[in-house]
């Protein structure tokens, strides 16, 4: 067993795989950036090996490894490696007016559906049965598609209130099909049947992808002689165990920006700020509130499918270090095209032929890299291009603020030197050390979390009881995800009243975090997430 002194954070992005090695106090000891590879292990192995070599440490001194990855996102977007899902909805005779997967992009539906059914059953808002659970109909459906399915997704009406029928369906699948992965909607999404069903189906389709990533990671660790406790990064900036990630791969979607936001806050030593992450092709602007990424309040579309599971709230601009600066009919255009990872060959400052934002940054003295002298004609367009960047970023920052008043802005990402030192609406622009690997730092420093998002009814003054039940369940989820039961704390608590329902029903969203179990300290920006609950 490792001695528990160091941990490694790895973030697999679309272009680069970043890795950092941190000591117990959270200081960056070594970092690495390597190209992302198509197979799972290649890029991860190379990144791990680089940081190990750079640090000069023995492999057995690394006690924890945290992985953030875009594998699940890409699998959905590219419709690759998706499993075949038997889609089960329990809710007839209600809900037949919209079939499962209705409105999905046809290629995605064709790539992952093993068949769809609506069987009798489901619940009412108050936990009564909507209709008896039609076990026979489900049995017949499973038999009809058993030969072609890889996983089963089960969504029952009002499962966020009472999941009995989903649990019974899971038992039946186990009895009929043995060890087949089953995704139950009440564990994946919240109120809103269709969005929750969509998220559950995607989660089921991603089970195989999760297996492959977990296996690939384990092989990479083995080859390098590493034996850390591994974690996956979730899209709320927290961590989950490998086993949890196998069951809920959808929670990795959006983990990249979440890690970056959290890492930026940590590196800059702030808990509340606006984070601007400038990459090669795009810029993400997000918000860190009390140490965690603010979540989007809107449903999110993934691969053209509407879902309602949590995602970081982001504005993405098509601006990055590799963005093309082009003159068209006397007008200057910046992006959206980018040379991306080819910047070190194509940019003017590197001896290439393409005028990029990085060249503009160098021309105006914001960036200092490359070796070539820029031609004199660059100066004018460079100033204009940067003015464009400044205006777009300033407007986006203003739109992300929740309240009046200036906020600190943390600039991270490989292209963040493009940003000016002063931004209207920002108290200051912080450029923390290791800004180029903030995402990997964020992954390495996460706490483990659990969350519930359910509807509770409280007939007579039982609001406190509902709150307690919700907190307890969120804590249970945190422990399941790998948290130390001893150090749990509630970091988010939101009550959403429901209209037209006399008697008191409320949707509760509660998030609980806990430290990693064996005492490895989780660095949290000062005054951030330990200060108890938030209620709005």
């Amino acid at each position: 067993m490792p001695t528990g002194e160091y941990r490694i954070g790895v973030d697999v992005g679309g272009t680069n795989t970043d890795a950092v090695l941190l000591d117990l106090s959270g200081e960056v000891v070594a970092k690495a950036k390597v190209p992302t590879t198509l197979d799972v292990e290649g890029g991860i192995s190379a990144a791990l090996e680089s940081v190990l070599v750079a640090s000069g440490l023995d492999a057995d001194r690394v006690s924890h490894l945290m992985l953030g990855t875009t594998h699940a996102t890409n699998a959905v977007l590219e419709r690759r490696q998706l499993g075949r899902v038997a889609v089960v909805r329990i809710g007839a005779p209600a809900t037949r007016a919209v079939r499962p997967l209705f409105g999905w992009p046809e290629p995605l539906r064709a790539a992952l559906s093993a068949g769809e059914v609506i069987v009798g059953g489901g619940m009412e808002l108050d936990g009564r049965e909507l209709a008896p659970f039609d076990v026979e109909a489900l049995r017949r459906f499973l038999a009809s598609c058993a030969s072609r399915l890889d996983a089963v997704a089960v969504t029952s009406v009002f499962a966020p209130v009472c999941a009995d029928h989903e649990l019974r369906a899971e038992e039946l699948v186990r009895a009929e099909l043995g060890d087949c992965p089953v995704s139950l909607s009440h564990r994946v999404g919240s109120m809103g049947l269709l969005e929750r069903e969509n998220a559950t189906v995607l989660n089921a389709a991603l089970q195989g992808v999760a297996e492959r990533v977990v296996d690939g990671l384990q092989r990479a660790l083995h080859t390098l002689g590493l034996d850390p406790v591994p974690y996956f990064a979730q899209n709320d900036g927290t961590l989950m165990s490998l086993d949890y990630a196998r069951r809920f791969p959808i929670l990795t979607i959006g983990s990249g920006p979440a890690n970056s936001i959290r890492g930026a806050a940590l590196l800059a030593g702030v808990a509340d700020a606006i984070v601007v992450d400038v990459g090669g092709t795009s810029t993400d602007i997000g918000v860190v509130a009390r140490g965690f990424p603010r979540e989007s309040s809107q449903g999110v579309e993934i691969g053209g499918v509407r879902t309602n599971f949590r995602m970081p709230d982001l504005i993405t601009l098509a601006l990055g270090g590799g963005s093309l600066v082009v003159s068209e009919d006397g007008r200057l255009r910046v992006g959206p095209e980018s040379v991306g990872f080819a910047l070190p060959e194509k940019g003017l400052v590197f001896g290439g032929q393409t005028f990029t934002l990085t060249d503009a940054g160098v021309a105006r003295g914001r960036m200092h890299l490359g070796s070539e002298r820029l031609p004199a004609w660059c100066a004018g367009p460079a100033g204009e291009a940067l003015a464009r960047v400044d205006a777009e970023v300033t407007a986006a920052i203003d739109r992300m603020k929740l309240r009046r008043g200036d906020r600190p802005v943390v600039a991270v990402g490989g292209g963040s030197e493009l940003l000016p030192d002063e931004i209207p609406g920002a108290t200051e622009v912080l450029r923390p050390p290791h800004f180029d690997v903030a995402n990997a730092v964020g992954a390495a420093t996460g706490a483990v979390s659990g969350q519930v998002d359910r509807v509770y009814r409280f007939p007579s003054g039982g609001r406190e009881q509902a709150l307690e039940a919700a907190k307890e369940e969120a804590g249970r989820q945190a422990v399941l995800a790998g948290a130390d039961p001893g150090g749990l704390s509630v970091v988010e608590l939101e009550e959403i009243p429901l209209a037209y329902l006399p008697g008191g029903a409320v949707r509760l969203r509660v998030k609980v975090i806990g430290p990693l179990p064996d005492g490895a300290s989780t660095s949290v920006p000062s005054g951030s997430c330990r200060e108890g609950e938030r209620s709005r």
Partner: protein
């Protein structure tokens, strides 16, 4: 001059209904999919004007009663409309000639099309509110003296309840309680009438209006202002950001207030909206800017989609719009039923055109 409502119209109609919901009326996202599936399976729906109907033809206003949140989780089987029609025909002894949205605002503007496609019946280009209101009797038919009874409710299981209430207020009580027993929401019809009666008792052109508004896309601030003024006779009250949301439930209704902070050319201005399921009153610096029964709608500046009161959140970038209500609601009887005092605000109604003019 009837026209067909096909799959290509669904998006526009849904967007328009959401905006005419003035923050209420229920989320249209499920209704949009129900309508697309119904039209895909059963074909397009004919939209008719009242002049195309025989004066004796029976018009069946219909929709959903209950909690919008429930309807996003436990939505229709699709057969509810057929049961309502069957029961109405049995009670009245004559065939239903067409359906009509009881309420154009929100998901209730779409549901009659879901059922009409299945029944091969036309939909009348009219509704009872010209927007969304919380209570069943807050309809034009009530003002015109049409009886709400016999009213019929049904759920997805096939339960059917018939009401002969002694007043609109009693019908509201009875249907609300029944909806709770049915699981929080149910399909219903009230104020069935002849086309001849509908001519004076309904608000006409509502579906066409929703389609026209739904066609608008945000193409920059100036563009939207012009389009709205031209198409809907509406006004932009403010461009801004939701800066504060305070919401609570009482008596089963969502109440609260929202502060929108001006951005861009509106920077420095603050607009406060009072809401009870719908957005009812808008104040700026203590001055009234708009009030019910005129419509106050909040739209997302990026998508142009209306945001319901339940979905308003801190930080959303929005435009607050004001649209004049149907002239019917500006009469003494109309204001008694749906004016500011009917919702507990101690203020006199002032038409939005005058409030906006005074501001200039």
């Amino acid at each position: 001059m009837s026209r067909l409502i096909a799959a290509g119209d669904v998006e526009d109609l849904a967007r328009g209904c959401a905006l005419l919901g003035a923050g209420g009326g229920g989320d249209t996202s499920v209704g949009r999919l129900m309508m697309l599936q119904a039209i895909g399976d059963f074909g397009p729906v004919t939209l008719v004007g009242v002049d195309e109907l025989d004066p004796d033809a029976l018009v069946m206003p219909c929709g959903m009663v209950g909690a919008p949140t429930v309807a996003t989780e436990k939505f229709e089987s699709g057969d509810e409309g057929a049961r309502l029609r069957q029961e109405v025909e049995r009670l009245r002894g004559e065939p239903v000639a067409c359906l009509m949205p009881a309420e154009i605002g929100g998901s209730n503007g779409l549901l009659p099309f879901v059922w009409a496609a299945r029944l091969s019946l036309p939909v009348l280009d009219a509704d009872g509110m010209g927007r969304a209101f919380p209570e069943i009797p807050q309809v034009a038919m009530h003002l015109a003296g049409i009886s709400p009874s016999p009213a019929v409710m049904t759920d997805e299981r096939g339960n059917v309840a018939v009401f002969r209430a002694c007043s609109g207020a009693w019908l509201e009580r009875l249907e609300r309680a029944t909806a709770v027993e049915f699981g929080g929401s149910a399909a219903s019809t009230e104020y069935c009438m002849t086309a001849g009666e509908a001519r004076r008792a309904a608000i006409h052109g509502s579906v066409t209006r929703a389609l026209g508004i739904g066609k608008l896309r945000l193409g920059g601030e100036g563009n939207l202002v012009d389009e709205l003024v031209i198409r809907a006779g509406g006004f932009i009250l403010l461009f801004g950001k939701v800066a504060d949301v305070e919401r609570r439930t009482s008596g089963g209704f969502v109440r609260g207030s929202v502060v929108v902070e001006g951005t861009g050319s509106d920077a420095g201005r603050l607009l406060r909206l009072e809401l009870q399921n719908e957005n009812l009153v808008a104040f700026e610096g203590g001055e009234l800017r708009a009030c019910v029964p005129d419509l106050i709608s909040v739209v997302d500046v990026e998508t142009g989609d209306a945001i319901s009161t339940e979905r308003l959140r801190y930080g959303q970038r929005v435009a607050v719009l004001g649209l004049p209500c149907d002239p019917l609601w500006r009469t003494e009887g109309g204001l008694g039923l749906v004016g500011p005092r009917a919702f507990g605000y101690d203020l006199d109604y002032q038409p939005i055109e005058e409030l906006v003019d005074a501001d200039r």
